[in-house]
Structures are given as structure tokens and as C-alpha cells.
């Protein structure tokens, strides 16, 4: 396999969100189109400039990105509508980088929209039951992540309180973000008292269920320099998948990020010590613990101890999920594009009260399925 990567030859020039929280009456394409329009407008581009469309929404079906391109009046050369889960948006960045580098496209639009919270009960579940899991009635995805958490606790002594540190840190960041959905103060006692749902997870170990849309725009670095926004360089991007269902995950304490994380950092020429902020896909509290280990911020098994004492909260040793994450900011079903938008906002210096001082490098990570499919983007301001 070729590990060459066109480091810093492309950049994210637009990044926007819309309707985080509740967006009653809107369809996913309405929401994604608004975020897309706003992301393009930031840098002075429009739908007419877009020739690559990478779109996934909460309810898209056969036809995929074609419907979204039609909605926006785009005639794309390249279309992609992947549905492996929340990781697709980081993988879209990876693909867009290569397509831009190859000259197949000049401007990539990545978009997502979901009205899953407002449309609750009306959604069609497109996830077919798996006959070797469904009869046991797992409450997925939560049960699968709970099995991973239990194994990590058994193997490495990770504690419920360490899971709680992840929830508390997310809430503290959310309190600095006026757009975050859950901003009320949260104590460890309240966390531990939350009703258990699937051991070791209670309600506060699980991400929010919200609406939300996001979009990002990429172009080649030479063109990005002439646009209105600070270009955020793509320094590395990589993806890896090891399974689909939890019964087939090789080791429940090691995710595919252990392969693609170090690969993306190597493309960027960086180590974890060089990273100023990490936007990780925290669908459940165990996720950031696993991902910090797999990215190399600490050895395997040390993630629980790594997050102790407010280490990933504001003022801690590593800024993680600075918007409040999927646990306290927003989680419309597929969260991956929100980690990218937050990383861009931080690197632009546009993050308001939650701004990480002198942020120059960032990781945005996406997770799909049940820890199945991982993707990572390493971003920087040059």
C-alpha cells in the first residue's frame, strides 16, 4: 500500500452547521442545503462552483446524493453517498483530497442533515436485523458499546468513575458553547445516580438524540489562498474498517483507529504530542477512552486513567471535544461532520469562550457502526 499523502495540498475553506438541537418541520435535505449554502458563502463560493458532492442524511435511500445535488442545483462530476455510519464524513474528506489532487474535481461539498429527533416515530429504520444478534434483543448500538466497555473494564481496570470523567468533561466544554444542547451543570454524584440502561452505561453515558446539519467545503490549497476564509490544511486522512457487527470485532478493546490513526498522523508528520485538540466521536463515554489509546495519546489500557482529574475538560492537559461532543452538544445520529466543523472553528480562532489558545493542529475523528469503521482527518493552520 502506498502511504504517500498530498499533505497540505488541499484545504477546508468552508464549514457550517444548522439546526443543532431541534429543527421541527424541516426535512434533512432542507437542513443540509442550508448548512451547505452557508459553508460555501463563508469563502465566497456558491453551488455553481461545486463539482464533487458527498452527502449522507438520516433518511436518504436509493438515489442517494443525486437527490441532494438536484435540490441544490449542482451538476456534479463525482457523487458519493456512503452509509456505513458517522465515520463517512472523515472518509469523504480523505476521498475528496485525492480526487482534488488528481484533478478530477475542483471543489468538494460534504453535507449531512438529520431530523431524527423531531421526526421520532416517523423514521424508517433502514438497518436490517442481523439474524445472529437480533433474536437476543440487544438495544443497539448501545448494547454493543456496553459490551466493549465491560471488556475494557475487565481487562484494564477501567472504572465507572473514569467513564464519568468523560461525561463531565463534555458537559464543562458544552457550558462554554452557546449552541450546545445540554449545558446544565453536572456532578459526578448525579452521573453515578443516573438510571442504568445497559451495564455499565446509564443515560449520561449515551450521546444526545438531536437534529442537526453540517457541511464542509474543500478545494486545492492554491485556490484556497485566494478565498475569504483562513484555509485549514488537510495534513492527513485515513480510514479503516474491521467488522460490521460486534460479534465479529476481533478485540473489543482495540478499534480500527489503532491502524488508521497512526497512519494519518504519519502522513501529517506529527505525533500525538504535537496535537493541540482532538475532536473525537463520543457516541458513548467509552469511545474517547478507546480512541485516545488507539491514537497513541496513552498506552492501550491507560485511557481511563488518562481522562482522570479533568484531564480532557477545559483547562486540562488535552482539549478533547471542545464543543461539548455528542454527549452534550449535538448528536443527530451521525456525528462525524460536527467534529470536522468544530476543529475548523478552533483552528480559525472562531470558537468564542471555548477557544483553545494558539490552536494550530487538530484531529477530527469519525466512528461508524459499533466501533466498526473508523476515519480520521488531521488538520492544521500553516
Amino acid at each position: 500500500m502506498n502511504d504517500r499523502f498530498p499533505r497540505a495540498r488541499t484545504a477546508i475553506v468552508g464549514a457550517a452547521t444548522f439546526g443543532e438541537g431541534r429543527c421541527p418541520g424541516y426535512e434533512p435535505y432542507d437542513m443540509a442545503a442550508i448548512a451547505a449554502r452557508d459553508a460555501l458563502a463563508q469563502c465566497g463560493l456558491s453551488f455553481a462552483d461545486v463539482d464533487g458532492v458527498f452527502a449522507t442524511t438520516s433518511n436518504d435511500t436509493f438515489g442517494g446524493a443525486m437527490h441532494f445535488a438536484q435540490y441544490c442545483g449542482i451538476r456534479p462530476r463525482v457523487m458519493d453517498n456512503s452509509r456505513s455510519g458517522g465515520n463517512v464524513f472523515e472518509s469523504y474528506v480523505e476521498r475528496a483530497v485525492w480526487l482534488l489532487e488528481a484533478g478530477l474535481i475542483d471543489c468538494a461539498l460534504i453535507a449531512y442533515g438529520s431530523n431524527q429527533a423531531s421526526a421520532l416515530g416517523k423514521l424508517t429504520n433502514t438497518n436490517r436485523p442481523f439474524p445472529y444478534e437480533a433474536p437476543y434483543r440487544p438495544v443497539n448500538p448501545m448494547t454493543s458499546y456496553a459490551l466493549a466497555a465491560k471488556r475494557h473494564m475487565h481487562q484494564y481496570g477501567t472504572t465507572k468513575e473514569q467513564l464519568g470523567e468523560v461525561a463531565l468533561a463534555a458537559r464543562k466544554w458544552a457550558q462554554l458553547n452557546p449552541d450546545a444542547v445540554s449545558r446544565a451543570p453536572l456532578t459526578m454524584d448525579e452521573y453515578l445516580a443516573a438510571r442504568m440502561i445497559s451495564d455499565p452505561f446509564g443515560k449520561l453515558d449515551c450521546c444526545l438524540v438531536t437534529d442537526g446539519a453540517a457541511a464542509a467545503v474543500l478545494t486545492r490549497a492554491d485556490r484556497a489562498r485566494d478565498l475569504a476564509t483562513t484555509p485549514i490544511a488537510v495534513l492527513g486522512a485515513a480510514s479503516m474498517t474491521t467488522h460490521s457487527h460486534i460479534l465479529a470485532m476481533p478485540d473489543l478493546t482495540v478499534t480500527p483507529l489503532a491502524e488508521c490513526g497512526p497512519r494519518a498522523l504519519a502522513q501529517a508528520g506529527l505525533t500525538p504530542a504535537d496535537i493541540d485538540l482532538a475532536e473525537l466521536y463520543d457516541a458513548f463515554t467509552i469511545n474517547p477512552i478507546l480512541f485516545l489509546e488507539d491514537l497513541g495519546f496513552c498506552p492501550k489500557g491507560e485511557g481511563g486513567r488518562f481522562v482522570e482529574g479533568g484531564a480532557i475538560a477545559p483547562g486540562g492537559k488535552l482539549a478533547v471535544n471542545t464543543n461539548g461532543g455528542g454527549l452534550s452538544c449535538v448528536h443527530p445520529g451521525m456525528y462525524g461532520l460536527f467534529t470536522i466543523v468544530e476543529a475548523v472553528r478552533q483552528l480559525r480562532g472562531d470558537a468564542g469562550d471555548r477557544q483553545v489558545a494558539n490552536a494550530r493542529t487538530a484531529i477530527a475523528q469519525g466512528n461508524g457502526g459499533v466501533l466498526s469503521s473508523q476515519a480520521i482527518v488531521v488538520l492544521g493552520v500553516e
Partner: protein, 129 residues
Amino acid sequence: MTRVSEQGGPDQQYQAHLAAGRFMIQRGVETGKMVFFPRAIAPGTGEDLEWVEASGRGTVYSTTCVRKRPPETDLNIALIDLEEGPRMMSRVEGVAPDAVAIGMAVKARIVALDDGHIVVFDPAPGEAA
């Protein structure tokens, strides 16, 4: 050319074995590598598969208790490492759903549902896989 089996696809064959009281898993005809869940060809190698009866002995790899609101009762979900190697999802019965422990030795049992059969496990002290 690969012929279509008169016994149907692998899901149907697995269910037919369970209905006849046999918990069968699959084995690669060339490498002997054991496979679960049932497939038409072996993962990785692509070789043909043959059915072999599982010993039924296994070990709990991970476990969770799904808490239900009454009148529904709590439910155990576990991943079981079979003695033959493959891992499967199941539940452990005969013990409180939150008392199932990682490393526990268990033994398979076939249970009939309205629309087929499944394999569940019971604690089997002294029968560690």
C-alpha cells in the same frame, strides 16, 4: 461451478440443524478453520465450508445487562467464545442477568422461538472451555 444446494442457503441449514436438536458451526474444508456465523463460503480464504457439531462449551468474553422497565424483566446479552474458536452473541440463563461474569464457563442449549431456534447458554462450573 458451484452448485445450488437442495438444503437451501446457510441460514436455512443452520436453522434446520437447530430444529433437529444439533448446534452446528462450520469448518473450512481446506484449512480446518472454524467459522461462525453461518456463511456460504469461508471469510478470508473463500474456501468451501462443512458443518460440524459444536461441543457447546464456551466462555463469556463480555456481558451486559439490559435494564427493562417493569413488567418487562432485565435481559442478559453476552458474547461467548466457543471452545472451537469462533465468538457468538447469546445470553446466559439460570443466573441473574447482571450476575453473568466475564470468564464464566457456559454450556449451550437450544431454545425454540415462534419463528425458529436460537442457542442460549447456562453456567457450567467445572466445564471451562
